[in-house]
Symmetry: C2
Subunit: 169 residues, 2 copies
Amino acid sequence: MRWRSVAQVNCSVARTLAVIGERWTMLILREAFMGRRRFDEFQHNTGIARNILATRLRALAADGILQRARAAQRRGGIEYRLTKKGLELYPVMVAMLKWGDAWLWRADDERPPLQLMHRCCGAKVMPALVCPHCGDAVTARDMIAVPRRVATRHPGDEVRQGGSGEARH
Amino acid sequence: MRWRSVAQVNCSVARTLAVIGERWTMLILREAFMGRRRFDEFQHNTGIARNILATRLRALAADGILQRARAAQRRGGIEYRLTKKGLELYPVMVAMLKWGDAWLWRADDERPPLQLMHRCCGAKVMPALVCPHCGDAVTARDMIAVPRRVATRHPGDEVRQGGSGEARH
């Protein structure tokens, strides 16, 4: 299979990767989530080559993740703002940030430069993944993927996450 | 900046991308989270060329995300199992799945093939991102990134997520 075909695969993870899985794309979105909007800001803070940055911004606009608009201020330059679709990528960003914080800093390193704060309650915390039904914190071992079309569960329909079960997909 | 330098950047998102940001890598991890362990299973379910798959599996083992081991059963073939470090990438996977489900299926499409079920309470739900302090659901607009080294907050230290604030990084 070629990478380009991934967008057509019958799987939401694959389709998502086809949109945000190119090199640099998530770094551009990191900057967008930090409030950057202008080409030069993206370029300066990521160090991406200008031609690659231009290509990626065009793709993100075409995919409806960034909206290209003329700025009201800043002498009318072009801005790229996160759309609703783009803003909803925040959990992907937070999950990567959290994992990187936990696993990719050596003990003798400086600590990660940023921490997140919840504006409403003021706590300096990393958002956590919970079950919206019972409220319990959720890890890979706690979730099962089941085929959506099966209305009632039968033995063998379940697919254990991170386990050894054979999965239908 | 070259892509290879991204691993050295002073940012957890960039470092995470250096580990899982190659094409195909997250699709291999999707399979691992679905319980697949063998080279042929990964190959069959992702359609990745065998040489690329071999390279990616080697990298994931070198990065401590998959552990290579001889299987006790299955006639002693080689298996790749998620380590603790690998299992903790689950929130990244779930976030991508959720976003793909929400945004990448046309109305006239079939629905996404899988749904998640919380094993403990039985609810068919997507895990949600919440503040572990107050329990509220969290979106991009609710979080602020603040420099870790600043012990007390001063005006200008805050970086609005998805907002227009200038960010120090």
